[in-house]
Symmetry: D3
Subunit: 333 residues, 6 copies
C-alpha cells in the first residue's frame, strides 16, 4: 500500500532523518510532530529529544497551557531546514525526534512533578539533549533535576517577564513562579552562571531581587534593552555562562503581549519577537544541553501568533544546539 | 524506557484496540489521531479506516478547509467509548485506525483528484469501510469512485445546505459544488436511492432541482423539518435507501452558521446539531460503507464549535457502521 | 478598455437588471452593494430601493451599528437569484438598486433624524418601496414618516426581543427603544394591525405591555413559539395585517445571541434563524411596502454569522415584496 | 459629596432594595455585582445571597472557569426588574445581595472544598437561600453540604450534558465530574427526587447509567426533548420533585456549544437557550432553596453569548425563588 | 461572619491601605476596582482618586469606549505593589481609592460634559489628585476644568497619535478630537508647557500644526523616536514641563494597533508599549497632579492586550504621582 | 434628488478630485473604494489607478487573500489628505481612481495570470501608474509584465519575509513564492537594481541566496535592521535603485505577526509597522511607477490591524508617487 498512499519521503543527510520533503507534501498535510520531525520509532540514535508536557496545575492566573504543546507543534509546520542567520541546519545536522506528550495527573502537583522527572530521565537515556514544550513553568524543575543528573550543575539562561524565584504561594512550593528557587536550593544550578533576561513589571518588594541574586542569577531587565540595544545584553550573557552546560528556559511572556497574547500572566512593555530570536541566535556558540518553551496558553492566542513565536523559539534553540556542519552542497529541492 | 514514559495503555476488547485509557491519561495529552484511536501500524485487521484529505482547491467562496482534518481530530478528544443513544460501541466493536492525511497537489485539480482516488483504493485494500475527513466536497467524487469499485452502486445520503449537483463553474468540472453530478454521470450512484437532507437557500433557477432529481436524488428541504420535525425525515430516509450500501456525506454547512460558523459557503436557517446527530443516529440499522465530513474551515471557527460538531458527526457515523454487540459487561474504569 | 477589464455582465430578464453573472465572476470579486445589485446610476425605473443608514447614536448599551450596513452588504454576496421556498425571483422580477449610505450627524439626534427622513423622502421619489439597512432602531421612525406620506397608515410587523415602545430615556424621545411609540403617537401606524413577534426577556413593569397594546400592537412572545411552533404565529400575523401596507422591521436581536451575537442589547432565549426566515417567507402574500434590518453590530460578530442572518433577512423581505412571475424558463447558467 | 457624584438611587419597593434606577444611570456605568444588585453592606435582612466561587481546579479538559463569576456578572447588566413570562419580580419581591467571590487555594482541592463549605455556611447564617456563580461543578458538593445542614435532604434538578456521578479520576474523589455521587453517598440528596435534564453524548459504559439511578437520579435525555418537546420534560420534573427543597444546578454545557461555546467539556447536540430558560421558568411553583450556574469559561466565549445565557439562567432561578407578589402598580419609570 | 468568609486582609503600610494580600487571595478572586484597591468607603484621607467615565458620545469612528473603565480595571489585577524601574510604591506610599464610574447622559453632550465636570469637582474635594479611566478623549476637558480650579494652569503631556486640537466636527465643539483646543481657549493650559508625544499619521492640512503650536503644544512626532530613541524625547519632555502641575493624558492609540487593537481611531506606525511605559516612568520627578487613560474600546481588544497596556499606563502614572519613600524593609510576603 | 440625499461633496484642488469632505460625512458612511477615492467614472485624466486582485490560488499555506482587497479598502477610511512626514498630498496632488476588482478564474492558474496581465494593460491605457491590492504574491508577475511594456526594465523594491525567487513547487511555475524569479527570467527586471528588505526565517538551502543574487537582488535582512537601525537600510535602498523606474512590492508578512497576523505564511521576528512605513516614506524622492500590497488574509486578522497596516502602506506608496506641490494654503475644513 505504501507506494500508493501519498506520504512524501523524509529528507536525509547522512544518517540523519529530517523533515518530510515539503516540495512534494503540502505543509498542511504534515504529521503533527514539532516541525514534522520524526517520532522516536522512526529513528535510531538520537541527539535531541523533543518532549511535550501538557501540565498547568501550577499557574496563578490564566490557565490553559495544558494545550500548549499541541499548539506549538501546530504552528511549527512552516519551519525550514536551513537557518541562514545562525548558519545552522537544525534538522539535518543532528538527529531529532518528537516523543509526544507526557501525561500526568492534573490534580496532584507532587505526583505530577515526580512523573515528569521520571519521564525526563527515561528520555535522557535515549537522547543527551532535550527541548521541552510546556506547559507551565513548574516543569523546569523536574527537567533540571533530570538534566543535572546527566550534566551536573546547569547555567540557566532564563527569558521571562518574571523572576520565577519566588518562594511559596498558598504554602505550595512547586509552582510556575518558583522553579528556579527550588532548583537553586537543590543544588541543580551553577550559581555563578545563571541569568534572567527581559525581566520587568512590579514586584512584591525590592528584597525579591536580593533573594534572586543570592540564588545565582544576574539580570538584564527589559528597560535596559530599550536604552542599550541587544549587543550589550548578548555580551553579558556570553560572559556569564561561558562554556558551562546551559539550559535555555523561555517563558513566552518575556515577549510583549502584542507578540504573545496567548499566555497566562502577561506583562506589558516586553521584548519583541525579533529581539528574543536574535538573542537566542547568539547562543549558538554556547554549550546548550536543553531548553524549554513554556506558558503558551492557546485560548488567548490569535491567529497563532504566540504559537508561531514559540515555534521559532524552538527553531533557534535547536539551531543553537546543532553542531556546525557545512551542508551547503545539499539541496532539498 | 517504555515503563517510565507515561503513555497510558489502550483499551482492548477482544482483538479490538481502542482509545487510550483516559482515566489514566488526561485527554489533553492524547495522540493527534481522531478520537485518539490507533495509527495503522498499531493494529492488524481493520474494519474502518479514517483518512484526512486536506484539500480545498475546489471551493468557490471562503477557502481554508485544507486545515479541516487536523481541526476535526483536535476536537475529537472528548469522545467516549459507549454511545448510549445508539447503544453502540463505535471504538470497541470494530477495529478502526486513523491513516493521517493524504498529501495532494493543491495547484492541479486533476492530479489531486487522481491522487485521492488512488490513495482511497489503497486504503480500501486494508479496510472495507472509510470515514473521510475533508477538505472540500470535491473529495467525495474520488472517494465514491474507490468505494464503487468495491461495493458497486452507492446510495448517497447527503446532508448539505446545497445540492452539489451543479454542472461546471468557470468551465471546471470537478469542484465542491459538482461531485454528485459527476458521480451520477459516471454510474457510481444508485439513482433510486440517493437523498439530500437539509437543503435550503437560493438557487440559480428552478431547473436546478429538475436536474437534481434526474441524477437520482430525493430531497428533504430544511424548511420541511421546521414544520414536520425529524420523524418524517427519518422515515423517508430509511424508506429510500433500504439495505443498499450507503455513503453518508455530511457537509458541515447543513448546520446553521450558529452551529457551524467555520465553513466556506454558509447559509442561514439550517439544522441544529441536535437534529443532525439524531438523524445520523437513526442510520445505525442501515448498511453504511463509508462517509465523509467536509467543508470545515477552521479560520472561521470559534471555540472549536464547528470542529466539535464535526467530531460528533464522525462519532455517529462510526456508530452507525459499528456492528451491534453487547459489551455491557465491559467497563473501561 | 471595457472588453479587457474582466467585469462580468449583469443578468437581465426583460428590463430588469440584476446581479452580475456569478458563473463568470467569483463572488469575492463582486461590487460592494447589497447582493452585488446595481447602483442607482446603472438603472432607470425602480421598484425597490436599498438604503443604508450607518447611525447608532440612539443605542442604550453596546454601540457599533454604524458599521452595520457595510457588514450586511459584505455578507450578502452568496445570495442567488431564485428563492425556491418562496418561489420568488427577488432580483429578477423587480428592479432594485442600492443607494449606498445616508451620512448623518452622529452628534445631534434631531438633526440626524431630520436628515434621514428627508433622504428617505427623496429616495421614495424614485422608488415606491424601501429596504433599509441599519443602524439602530431609531431609524424606523423617520423611515415610517416618509413611507406614511406615500402609503398612509402602516401595519408594522416587528420582529424584536424588545417592544421598542418605551417612552423616553434620559429625557430623550427618539432612541432605539422608542420608535414605535413615537410613530403611533404621530398617527403613522394602523393601530388595528401592528404586531410584535419574538418578544422576550424582562420589562420595567407589566404596564409596559398595556401601553404597548394601546399603541396598536398585538404580540407573539417568543416562549409561545416554543410551545406552539410557527404555524400559529404565521396565522396570527396574516390575520392581523391582512392586505394593509406592511412595514417589516427586523431587529436582529429577535434571534438568539447564538444566531446573532453581533448586536447591542442581546437577550437569551430567542428565535432561531430558521424560524425567522420561515416567518418572513410566509409574508409573500402580503402587501409589503418597506422593511428594515437593524441593530447589527459587527464588532461583536463572529465569522459574519450575524451579517449572514441579516443578509438572508433582506433576501426574504425582497422576496416578499417581489411580484409573482414565472421565470422558470430563464436560466442564469 | 454624594449629591454631586452621579450615582443613581436604587429602586425600592417596601423594604426591598433593588437595582439602580437605570432610567437615570446608563447600564454600562452600573456596579460590578450581579444585575447591579446591592452588596451585603447596603442591606439588612436577606432572602437570597449570590456568591461567586472562582475555582476550577477540578476540571478535566479546558480550564478557565475561575474567571466565570466576573464574566456572568458582567453579562447581567441588561436584566430588568419584571419577568413577564414568570410574572415575577425577582429583584423587588425579595432582598438579594451579591457577596462577591470566595477566594480559595487553587493548588489544594481538599483545602479549597473545605473553605467553600465553611464560607457557604457563613453566608447561610445571613441568608436562607443561595445562588452560586461558578467555577467548576466541584463546587456543588460543598454548597450542598451547607444547604443540607439547613434544609435537610435536597432534590437536585441538574441541567447538564453529563451525569457528574462518576467516581474518581486519577484517584481523586472531588472533581467536576463527581459532585453528585459524593453528595448522594454523603446522604445530602433525596434519592427519590433528583433528576438530570439534557444529558447526552458518550459514556464510558452502560453501567454508568445504572450507578446513576442507584444514586437517586431520573433522567430526561436531550434527544428525548427533540422528539417530545418541553412539555413532557416539565411534567416529569414537577412530578419528581414535588414540594421538596430543590437545588437547581445548571452546568452551562447543557446548552449546545452554539449557545454556550465558553465552557470546558462541550458536547454537541444540546439544548437551546430558549428550552433551558423555559424549563427553569416552569420551576417557579417549586420550593427552590438554592442553585448554581457553573462551567462558564470566558476565554472560549464570543461576544459574551455564554455569559448572557448564564446571566439569564440566574435571572430565572431568582424568579423561581421569588415569592408571588403583585407589584403591578409599581413602575420604575 | 467575616472570619469565615475568605476575604484576604488588605496590605497596610502605616496609615495607607493598599491591595489585598494576594499571597492569600487568588488574583482572579479580587474585587473589581483598579488593581483591587479600596473603595472610597474603606479609607479616610485620600491622596489619589481613581474615577471611571464610561462615556463615548464624542467619538468619530469606532465607538465602544463606554466599556473602557471596566475593561481596564479587569486587566489591572496582576499589578504588584513595588515598581522596581521607578523605585516606587504606588499603592503603599499614598492612599488611593477607586470611586467607580460616573454615569452620564449618553444622548446629550453638553449635559454629559457638565455632569463630568461637576463630579470631578466633587471628587477633588476629597482627593487632590486624579486618575481618570475613559471613555473617549472628550472627558479630558471637564477634568481639566476641575483640576484648573484647584491647581491653576496645567501643563498637559499628551500621548496620542492625534493632535486633538481640531476645532469642530459637524459643528460640534466638544468631541474626542477637540479637548485641548477648548482647554487652551478657556485658559486652562499653561501654553508654555504643553506637549504631544507620539503624533503620527495624516492631517487635514499643514495648518493643523500651526494652530496646534499657537494653542501651546510642542510635539515629539512618532517617527522622530524611531530615529533618535527615547532619550531625546524624555529630555525634551522634562525641559518643557519643569515643575509645573502636569496632567498626563494617554490616548491608548499612541500605541501601534499591534499593542492596542482595542481603540477607535487606530493609526499604524505607533509606539511600542515599552516605549510608552518607559517615558511615563521618566516622569516620576515631575509634579503630576492628574492623568487619564482614554480611548480603550474593548470590543476590538484581543486577549485584553489593550486593557493590559492601559492598566500598566495607570500603574506608571500612579508611580509618577507617588512620593519617594523607602519601604524596602516592608515585605508583603 | 441629489440635493436631498446627503452625499458629501468631494474635495477638489485644481482639477484633482479627491476624498469626500469628511467634515460633513462620517467616515463610516464613506463609499467602499480605497480611502473613499473616486471610481474611474467620476474622473477624466488619471495619474494613478488602484486595482484589486482577489486571487489566492497560488498560496502554499493559509489561503484567504482573495478577501484582501475589500479588507484593505475597508481599513482605509481613516486616511487623511495631508501626509506631514512625507510633506505630501497623495490624494490632492494627483488624480487617483479605484477601479475595483479584477475577477479571475480561481481554478486555472494560467488563465488567471493571463487575465490579470490583460486587465493591467487595459488599466495602464488610462493611467500610467498603478497601486495593486492583492491577492497573493503571484499577481506581481502579470503586473510587472504590464508595467514593463510601458516603463521598460523595473527596479523592484521588495519588502517581504521571504525571497519569492523560488523556482517551482509541485511542478508549478507561477505561485506566490516565485514571481520575481519568473520576472527576472523574462527580462522584466533591472538586475542591477532590485532589492529585498526584511528577509528572515529559514531557507531550504544556502544556495537559495546565491540564486537570488544572480536574479538581480541585493538584500537587507531583518536582523540587520535590529542592529543598525533604519538609516543604513534607507541609504542602501536609495543607492541601489537611483532614479530607475521602481515597483514597490509589499508582502504584508514583512511585518512581524504581531503587526500583521492576517497573512498566510507568517514568520516571527519581523519589522514593526513604524519601520516599514518610515522606509516607504523615504522613497518619495524615487521614481515609483507602481506598487502592490499583497498577502493580506482577513480571516486571520484581528480588529483589522493587518488591514490598517496595509492601508497605511498604500498611503505611503501613493505619497511616494505623488508630485511635490505646495497646497498649504488649501484647507479642507
Amino acid at each position: 500500500m505504501s507506494e500508493s498512499f501519498p506520504t512524501a519521503p523524509r529528507i536525509t543527510t547522512g544518517d540523519v532523518i529530517g523533515q518530510p520533503d515539503f516540495t512534494r507534501l503540502p505543509r498542511f498535510a504534515a504529521p503533527a510532530t514539532f516541525a514534522a520531525l520524526p517520532a522516536p520509532g522512526e529513528v535510531s540514535d538520537l541527539d535531541v529529544a523533543i518532549v511535550g508536557v501538557p501540565y498547568d496545575s501550577g499557574v496563578s492566573y490564566r490557565p490553559g497551557t495544558r494545550f500548549g504543546p499541541a499548539h506549538i507543534r501546530n504552528a511549527s509546520k512552516l519551519l525550514r531546514p536551513y537557518n541562514p542567520e545562525a548558519d545552522a541546519w537544525p534538522f539535518q545536522s543532528q538527529q531529532i525526534a518528537d516523543f509526544g506528550d507526557i501525561g500526568v495527573n492534573p490534580y496532584n502537583i507532587d505526583e505530577a512533578i515526580t512523573t515528569i522527572e521520571r519521564s525526563m530521565r527515561a528520555v535522557l537515556e535515549r537522547s543527551p539533549r532535550l527541548l521541552v514544550l510546556g506547559g507551565d513553568h513548574s516543569i523546569a524543575l523536574p527537567t533540571l533535576r533530570a538534566l543535572h543528573a546527566v550534566h551536573g550543575p546547569i547555567a540557566v539562561v532564563h527569558f521571562d517577564a518574571h523572576l520565577d524565584t519566588w518562594d511559596t504561594y498558598f504554602n505550595t512550593p512547586i509552582l510556575h513562579g518558583t522553579p528556579f528557587r527550588r532548583a537553586s536550593e537543590e543544588g541543580l544550578l551553577d550559581r555563578e552562571a545563571c541569568m534572567h533576561i527581559g525581566t520587568r513589571g512590579g514586584l512584591y518588594a525590592p528584597g525579591d531581587m536580593d533573594d534572586d541574586r543570592a540564588l545565582g542569577f544576574a539580570t538584564v531587565r527589559c528597560e535596559e534593552i530599550e536604552f542599550t540595544g541587544l549587543s550589550g545584553a548578548i555580551e553579558k550573557l556570553k560572559a556569564r555562562v561561558g562554556q558551562r552546560p546551559v539550559y535555555v528556559s523561555v517563558d513566552i511572556d518575556v515577549l510583549d503581549p502584542a507578540f504573545a497574547p496567548g499566555t497566562g500572566t502577561p506583562e506589558s512593555g516586553g521584548l519583541t519577537s525579533r529581539e528574543l530570536l536574535t538573542m537566542l541566535r547568539s547562543m549558538n556558540s554556547l554549550n546548550v544541553v536543553g531548553g524549554d518553551i513554556v506558558e503558551v496558553s492557546p485560548a488567548y492566542d490569535h491567529a497563532d501568533i504566540t504559537g508561531l513565536a514559540a515555534a521559532h523559539v524552538g527553531y533557534e534553540i535547536l539551531s543553537a544546539i546543532a553542531p556546525a556542519v557545512d551542508l551547503s552542497s545539499f539541496r532539498t529541492r
